[in-house]
């Protein structure tokens, strides 16, 4: 926006008469402080400082009020900590693979609504509902769905004669992670659907009409025009989903606590356990885990952004 040089006649309205403040886009130091200081204080005090402190703590063993400097010991221990590596593996599996499921489901659902089914507006609102539920609610619901004796899943399988498939979904180390991924996808499908739908609706109508004249049926339109033009949105959704899953805690904690046998142990559940559940109650080691993980997450996001985010704007 261009700055306006306000005639000096109006300057007496401002508290200060300094000429530079005639520009409405400049404010005095005092005004900026009033606006920014509270938020910055909260940020520094409750986000920045704690982050630094966690990093700082990682070089200590902290039991109660005693802090013993141990240098890089925590980090060395971390490298050989098998549980940690299992949790990293689980979290990575989740973070890299599940978003594909999320985005594809979201796109398919959005296309179904875009095709102009009746009650599309109702379906859009209905399908979005799980996004609003807390993880506690979702976890409890799906624990009941997965229940071996009377859960919906096994009951349905038994009812249609597929008894052999009825399993202990959360109790079998081979199935538990998949079960959690499905649960998590159930909650978030609606979100991806809404974003994809909005993106599809914002595609220029005339380009789609041009493709119709170019002999594109639905399949060709999807493959050659719609999906390529949606690429920025789809990749954005992937990255958002990725970030979300790198942080996941609530769902896992309530449904499996990281079990059975660490099949669903994620970095966040492991940090929680080491910090608050173990008898040693040493806060230094989990701080080290948290610090490492912080670096990993940030690096992953930056790398993913470089790799996937399209640099050229699809201008239309």
């Amino acid at each position: 926006m261009t700055s306006i040089s306000v005639p000096s006649v109006a300057e007496e309205g401002a508290q200060h008469a300094a000429p530079s403040l005639a520009d409405p886009r400049r404010a005095s130091w005092w005004v900026l402080t009033v606006f920014l200081a509270p938020a910055l204080a909260v940020y520094v005090g409750l986000t920045a400082y704690p982050a630094f402190r966690t990093f700082y703590d990682s070089f200590f063993t902290i039991e109660g009020l005693d802090a013993t400097f141990v240098g890089l010991d925590n980090y060395r221990a971390l490298m050989s900590d098998e549980t940690f590596w299992v949790s990293v593996r689980n979290t990575f599996i989740w973070s890299f693979i599940a978003p594909v499921l999320d985005v594809v489901t979201g796109l398919l659902l959005a296309l179904a609504l875009y095709a102009g089914v009746p009650a599309a507006r109702f379906l859009r609102v209905a399908w979005f509902t799980p996004v609003l539920l807390s993880y506690v609610v979702v976890a409890i619901l799906w624990m009941w769905i997965f229940n071996y004796d009377w859960g919906i899943l096994n009951a349905t399988l038994r009812a249609v004669g597929l008894e052999a498939l009825a399993s202990s979904w959360l109790g079998d180390p081979n199935l538990a992670l998949g079960a959690l991924i499905v649960t998590h996808a159930w909650k978030w499908a609606g979100f991806n659907m809404v974003v994809c739908l909005a993106a599809i609706h914002s595609l220029p109508r005339e380009v789609l009409e041009a493709s119709e004249l170019d002999n594109c049926g639905w399949g060709a339109k999807l493959r050659y025009v719609i999906v390529p033009m949606l690429r920025p949105t789809l990749l954005n959704l992937y990255i958002l989903a990725f970030i979300g899953k790198m942080k996941i805690f609530d769902l896992v904690w309530i449904m499996t606590q990281g079990g059975p046998l660490w099949a669903t142990e994620t970095v966040s559940t492991y940090v929680y356990k080491r910090a608050f559940n173990w008898n040693t109650f040493d806060l230094g080691y989990p701080s080290a885990i948290a610090s490492v993980w912080f670096v990993v997450v940030c690096a992953a996001v930056i790398i993913l952004n470089r790799l996937l985010a399209t640099r050229e704007r699809l201008e239309y």
Binding site: P204, E206, V207, E209, A210, S211, E212, L213, D214, N215, C216, A220, Y224, V225, P228, M229, R231, E312, R313, L314, E315, Y316
Partner: protein, 378 residues
Amino acid sequence: MAVVTLDKLSKQYGPTGPVVVDKVDLHIGDGEFMVLLGPSGCGKSTTLRMIAGLEEISSGKLSIGDRVVNQVPAKDRDIAMVFQSYALYPHMSVADNLAFGLRRRNFAAAEIERRVQDAANILGLTPLLTRKPSALSGGQRQRVALGRAMVREPMVFLFDEPLSNLDAALRVNTRSEIIKQHKRLGSTMIYVTHDQVEAMTMGTRICVMNAGRVAQIGAPLDVYWEPADTFVARFLGSPPMNLATAAVVAVDDSHVARSPSVETALTRWSPQVLGNLADQKVTIGVRAEDLHINKAALGGEPAGHVRGRTIAVEPLGAETLLLVEIESGVEWTARLPRHVPVAIDETVDLYFPANAVFVFDAMTGRAIIGEKRRDIRQ
């Protein structure tokens, strides 16, 4: 034969919705350049889109070539369209944009290559083939859109206000480009615009539309010199035709049109016709370029006379526009040569050839047809 026929074609949104295209009858001959002209909302774009197959036809019959195509999907109608917003595929290069339609139709690679190269050469796109649309200017994009239609070698080309998004200079260039291609290809082209300059310069025939209906169809100059109603009369021509309400009065053994500020003989109509109109009100029209401030310029021909008060004088260099208030609320514009020594608020007398007058029914606006003007060379 690339003939397009519209038979009472109509479009209505929903059973109780607005009728945006109302029983349009139009026959477009092989190789013709037909311009659909009209103000925004007159239904011309909707008509074009019905021809293209992008809008469903509510009623009426549409034929392309010798078959009825109401139910035929757009891609099978052998038409190509150039959109107002170019509608290029933003993620594909120019070459891919040109080739896309052919690839989807399973043309042989060699044939695709040939057609793309030909179109690129003709339109000057060869250095741009690897670029994406975002790296092109508006004029270049429109040429790519034109090329995309050309490679299809369709039976009919459709244009939906293709020049609206271009600036004035580019518009002139692209306009002549399209005309050039029409001469070269000899294809049937249907062109929608609201700009009468485009219509006058490009069309073999123009179809003026108003509120969903056809107002008049004809060659551009025919429509200009013999408008079918006051709407067409005022839509073509800049400044618009001057109109005034007058009464037809018998004087001696002829008739004149007379109003408080205008009086003119009516030389192009037979006594019977004028007799029927006697003592009735009509709308008379005179084009701005037919008004003269110097009566002598008319030679000795019968002349009409209008008197008014000057409201504005607009010297444009090559000509001067004079705005005159002839009655309360009625303004006439005269196009006068070079410089005119008239001041604002002056009373001024303007003269016009009597056979330059148009007469329209005061109620319906429809033209009351007389003899052709003898001073216009067709």
